[in-house]
């Protein structure tokens, strides 16, 4: 049995196919020549299909958005940990340089005496 999400996705596909049909060159070339009531009915159908499609697509996109946002905390934390690891390595270089400079000073002082 299909899930609500799968039903929604199938409905979106069906609506897209219908809209493609209502916006196709073949259909438009015919309906433009049709009597007014038929043209108005076609316009009404197109508006309803487009509105339904926009609503369902927005629902589907909101579901994707929620899934993605759920991960944001973990991904931001991961980026932070990597930045900290990088900072530790950079501070290692600073400490080593400071130690080297200090020993260099000591060496100069020792050689004086």
């Amino acid at each position: 049995m299909a899930t609500p999400g799968e039903n929604r996705d199938q409905l979106i596909r069906d609506l897209r196919a219908t809209r493609t049909q209502l916006m196709s060159a073949e259909w438009l070339s015919m309906i433009r020549e049709a009597p007014k009531p038929q043209r108005q009915a076609a316009a009404d159908n197109l508006m309803k299909v487009q509105l339904a499609l926009l609503d369902l697509e927005t629902q589907a996109l909101a579901a994707f958005r929620d899934q993605l946002i759920e991960n944001e905390g973990d991904i931001a934390a991961s980026s932070k940990r990597m930045r900290m690891a990088l900072a530790r390595l950079e501070s290692t270089a600073k400490v080593l340089k400071a130690v080297g400079d200090f020993i260099g000073v000591v060496a100069r002082v020792v050689t004086l005496f």
Binding site: M23, L28, I75, S78
Partner: protein, 300 residues
């Protein structure tokens, strides 16, 4: 006293340092893989961003195209107003969701940029090695015997300058592997969702494009042909362009495949079995995808 200490330490340090040097190639290869992975991740983020932008723009274009057709077929001002009002409201809601997804994509890009910064040290590790070598040189001034100390054919200073960067590289590699092990599931979930999103958007882009192209094709191809007037000289070329466009659009589906391949590559990297070829193919796919999206904007 310092020399005595160092002589003792040499027996312990030399085998350790030799191991580090031997393992250095493996570590460097791993770091290179992570650096490449970062580049691919950034390229994917950019491509996914381009897909999202194209989908949002395409949604507006398709909605506008349907409104224009509605206006052409419906001459009742009240119904025209209703169509414009209702569709604009629904479209604004959709664009707000797109905007939030787009912001999320920037966070993913930042993740891969940071991963690259940790993997691709550039000259930073050799700077640490130089600093360590500087300490040895300074110690040599304190004790001339220390300066002459040798490990095999190399002085202790030379040895330190080579081994320390490899030690640091090893720390980088371990930090990256640890990070992917710790947070691999979150990235995997992220890319799974992104893969499904790209599939959804690829279908949306194609469907919206079809809605935009239909009326254009009707005006440029069908109407002149049916009316029996003289056809414009470029009519065959125009018709060909419309026919070929639908083939171009089907390649937008590559975005979904790229997300799947990136997920596979990340898993492989965290397990230390990433093949360089995997990444090159992925870069090709992503480059092709961005080119397709750029071409789609301008045709016909």
């Amino acid at each position: 006293m310092l020399l005595q200490f160092l002589s003792g330490a040499r027996r312990v340090l030399v085998p350790g340092l030799l191991c580090i040097l031997a393992a250095g190639c493996t570590t460097t290869a791993k770091l290179n893989s992570f650096a490449e992975l970062s580049k691919v991740g950034i390229a994917y983020s950019d491509a996914a961003g381009a897909v999202i932008d194209q989908a949002a723009d395409g949604s507006i274009d398709a909605d506008t195209a349907t409104l224009l057709v509605t206006r052409e077929l419906e001459d009742d001002p009240a119904k025209r107003r209703q169509a414009l009002t209702d569709q604009s409201k629904a479209l604004r809601e959709q664009l707000a969701v797109f905007s939030r997804i787009r912001r999320h994509q920037e966070l993913i890009k930042e993740y891969f940029v940071t991963l690259g910064a940790l993997a691709d040290a550039g000259d930073a590790d050799s700077a640490i090695g130089s600093s360590a070598g500087g300490i040895i040189a300074a110690l040599g001034k304190l004790s001339p015997g220390f300066e002459n100390l040798k490990f095999g054919d190399q002085s202790v200073k030379d040895f330190t300058e080579q081994a320390v960067p490899l030690l640091v590289a090893n720390l980088r590699s371990r930090a990256l592997e640890q990070e992917l092990r710790t947070n691999g599931k979150a990235i995997d979930r992220e890319l799974l969702a992104s893969e499904a999103l790209m599939g959804f958007l690829a279908e949306k882009i194609q469907a919206d494009d079809a809605a935009v192209q239909g009326p254009r094709e009707a005006d440029a191809v069908f109407t002149p042909y049916i009316r029996g007037e003289d056809l414009p000289d470029d009519w065959p070329a125009t018709r060909q362009a419309f026919l070929e466009r639908s083939v171009d659009m089907s390649a937008v589906g590559n975005a979904q495949a790229a997300a799947r391949k990136l997920r596979t590559a990340l898993t492989a990297a965290s397990e230390g079995r990433l093949a360089p070829g995997q990444l090159q193919l992925l870069v090709n796919d992503l480059t092709a995808l961005v080119e397709i999206l750029e071409n789609v904007k301008g045709k016909p």
